[in-house]
């Protein structure tokens, strides 16, 4: 059985109690350790960790990142704060009832983005197949055809985890398996600073006792329907033949039949350049009047401008998206003579498109976006009449 020292990334004898190379006791042992190559890496309490990194005085204090005040929610709670109960997405007032001594810090997205891109560039030194899920998590394909350094994926991951700690100053949890679903499940099992492995031999048995919501694709609504039919654990789904799952879940049933046995065909897809950026809003009550729709659009155009500026991107085509009250989606587009980042110009085109559609139909959603992206440097060339 293979054994890896997580501190010095050396392979050692499986029966050693500590690393024969560096003496560390942080060892990971698994029979399939050297055969697995799909990883999920998740930063531990990312936003809070970045804040602690930048202000060591916070190190031993409970830290909550989120907007303070009445309606704010918790974005991230550090591990000290979590001991008292606060969790992500919890209303701030409730978090502070549970942990009144917490230090609340408003999010500084620019800082987190910077740390995230630093982490991503470390990942990219190991493999081009890095699929970011959000600022603080990503999938990596380290199989022989993808990795840039010819070492076992487990070794590369131990080195990466250490490099992120050293160079970025935050800790990560690593999940290693043979597909994305199980890699993610693995990284969730051991946090913070974890290194968890799920092999082929154990997958079915490991999944069996877990709740159905463990399965990628089963959300709260599906879980509720399953519970009504008396199905709560993955084991019960494992016992159902593929036909029965298909009959119950349609197309998803076939994927499900594989997932419950730990089979996931999704590949790790490298981060592609942004193809479009858009924002949208769903009305609390359907809207049909042009002024109400236009007002919503104006608000969205302002938000889109901010998104574009933050991403240093511009778009050359404006896309208006509408969804009618009977869930019919439509999109209309308008080409600009040059790429733009300007909300007012995007709005002008959006309103013109909206004018043709706002014919009394009720809409439940409106959105605006741009595609045909260009770098910010190519946006909005100076204008003779606006100089």
């Amino acid at each position: 059985m293979a054994c890896l020292c997580r501190d010095c990334a050396h392979l050692i004898d499986a029966d050693a109690a500590s690393c024969t190379n560096c003496g560390s006791a942080r060892l990971v042992t698994h029979p399939e350790l050297l055969d697995l190559s799909i990883a999920h890496i998740d930063c531990d309490a990312f936003y809070a960790s970045v804040e602690k990194r930048d202000d060591p005085a916070l190190n031993d204090k409970p830290v909550i990142v989120g907007h303070p005040g009445g309606r704010g929610v918790v974005t991230t709670a550090c591990y000290i704060a979590r001991q008292y109960g606060p969790r992500s997405a919890m209303p701030m007032f409730k978090a502070l009832q549970l942990c009144p001594q917490a230090v609340v810090i408003p999010p500084d997205m620019a800082k987190y983005r910077q740390a995230s891109s630093q982490i991503r560039s470390l990942f990219l030194k190991a493999t081009p197949l890095v699929e970011p899920v959000s600022l603080d998590e990503a999938y990596l394909d380290l199989s022989a055809g993808a990795r840039l350094v010819d070492r076992a994926p487990a070794i590369l991951l131990a080195r990466l985890a250490r490099a992120v700690e050293r160079e970025v100053g935050v800790t990560v949890s690593v999940g290693l398996s043979y597909n994305k679903f199980l890699a993610k499940l693995a990284s969730d099992r051991d946090k913070p600073q974890g290194f968890s492995v799920i092999g082929r031999a154990e997958a079915t048995a490991l999944l069996a006792p877990l709740p159905v919501t463990t399965i990628h694709g089963i959300g709260a609504a599906t879980a509720r329907r399953l519970a009504e039919a008396g199905i709560t654990s993955v084991r019960q789904l494992q016992a159902m033949p593929e036909d029965a799952l298909s009959a119950r879940f349609g197309k998803f049933g076939r994927a499900l039949a594989h997932l419950v046995h730990g089979e996931d065909r999704r590949r790790v897809v490298a981060d592609r350049p942004t193809k479009s950026i858009s924002v949208e809003t769903t009305f609390s009550r359907d809207q049909s009047a042009y002024p109400a729709l236009a007002a919503a659009l104006e608000d969205l155009a302002g938000r889109l401008e901010q998104r574009l500026k933050r991403a240093s991107l511009a778009g050359e085509t404006v896309v208006l998206k509408l969804k009618t009250s009977d869930f019919h989606s439509l999109s209309r587009q308008s080409r600009l003579p040059h790429p733009t980042q300007r909300g007012d110009l995007i709005l002008e085109h959006g309103l013109r498109l909206l004018g043709r559609e706002a014919d009394g139909r009720a809409f439940r959603l409106i959105g605006i976006g741009v595609d045909h992206m260009a770098p910010a440097t190519a946006a909005d060339p100076p204008d003779l009449f606006e100089a």
Partner: protein, 372 residues
């Protein structure tokens, strides 16, 4: 109606009128061309309700009458008939079909009642003047490239034509701009144009007019009011609505005292710009001009492609300047300069630059620099 006409003559006229007809129409009859056979000639009429063209072609009319038929289909058929063939068009009474015969081919086309065909009335056109075809070509060619395609700035979607004075001399001016470049061209004011209102001729009208000009060397009679303009040729008349908008005060963006003056040989300069721009990104097409005493360096760079530098000889006597332009805009202007030398008058990297042909003062081009 029954008539016979030479394929070549019919094709030529259909080519003019069919491009006025939009590809997609919500009003069916607007997809059609109106065909009217009279004594010795057939007249073809097409409209999109904003632009109307009537063209007369000699034909052997056996039985006068009128009908309408799908313009693009008819054009496609005639285009595919063999060269030198004769085409017979026949339409009987209120029959809903137009029959086209040529050689051993026979086509039956759905027609719509001629009485439903929209008539675009010119209304009263109080100003009338004539321009030589070449003069009108010059006004169009040297300005149309600068017309804006941005629909939200509809008032820039055409050429602004108006009477003005230039150095005390009355002139007829054509101006077009998209906000990034501007072209202003003038000819001596023709008789009858004094006091005419400034009008914005839509892009599509400009394009159709230009096609007709290609086939004539004669004079064109222009009649206009504040809302419509008409161009009359020997055998064709085009009537167009004008853009209902206010053209911006363009004079204020033409700098008068830019003192950094650069003279270049047009051909050499264009070729160098074309080469160097091969490296600039497709989206921005930016190219940098670095000018110092007696020398001009063109450069471009892009993260994906690399960089390019080319040095040129140039007459320049002012302080050093670095300024960026859209290379396509530079080439557009150079393409309109017929002489050997072009003169750039610059102020700084953020202010409009004036470009002229050294030996011709009738055209002025203004370029807004880019950030490079």
């Amino acid at each position: 109606m029954k008539l016979t006409i030479e394929r070549a003559a019919l094709l030529r006229s259909l080519n003019h009128v069919q491009s006025v007809v939009e590809r997609r129409n919500t009003i069916p009859i607007l997809s059609n061309v109106k065909i009217e056979g009279r004594e010795g000639q057939v007249s073809l009429n097409a409209t999109d309700m904003d632009l109307d063209i009537v063209e007369a072609v000699p034909a052997d009319v056996l039985r006068p009458g009128a009908t309408t038929a799908p313009a693009h289909t008819l054009y496609e058929i005639v285009r595919k008939l063999p060269e030198g063939s004769q085409v017979e068009l026949e339409h009987t009474g209120d029959d809903s079909q137009l029959i086209l015969r040529s050689g051993r081919s026979k086509f039956t086309l759905a027609s719509l009642p001629v009485d439903d065909y929209p008539v675009m009335s010119g209304g009263d056109l109080p100003f009338t003047f004539t321009l030589a075809a070449d003069e009108m070509k010059g006004l169009i060619d040297r300005t149309r490239f600068a017309i804006s395609s941005e629909e939200t700035r509809y008032y820039l979607n055409g050429i602004y034509v108006h009477a003005a004075t230039s150095g005390g001399v009355p002139v007829l001016r054509a101006v077009a701009t998209d906000g990034h470049r501007l072209a202003r061209v003038e000819v001596p004011l023709p008789e009858g144009a004094a006091g005419m209102p400034g009008v914005i001729v839509p892009r599509k009208t400009v394009a159709e007019l230009r096609k007709l000009l290609d086939e004539t060397t004669m004079e064109v009679t222009v009649s206009l009011s504040e809302t419509k303009i008409r161009f009359a040729f020997d055998d064709a008349v085009m009537t167009s609505k004008l853009i209902d908008g206010t053209f911006p005060d363009y004079e204020r963006v033409i700098p008068a005292d830019n003192d950094k003056v650069l003279e270049v040989d047009c051909r050499t300069f264009s070729q160098a710009v074309d080469r160097v721009s091969a490296i600039s990104t497709e989206k921005s097409r930016a190219i940098k001009l670095s000018v110092d005493k007696g020398s001009l360096t063109l450069s471009a760079s892009s993260p994906e492609n690399g960089s390019a530098v080319e040095e040129l000889e140039a007459a320049y006597d002012a302080g050093p300047i670095e300024i960026g332009f859209n290379s396509r805009y530079l080439l557009d202007i150079m393409a309109q300069i017929e002489g050997d030398a072009a003169r750039f008058a610059m102020a700084d990297a953020a202010s409009p630059t004036v470009v002229r042909e050294v030996t011709d003062s009738s055209a002025v081009y203004v370029l807004m620099p880019m950030r490079v």
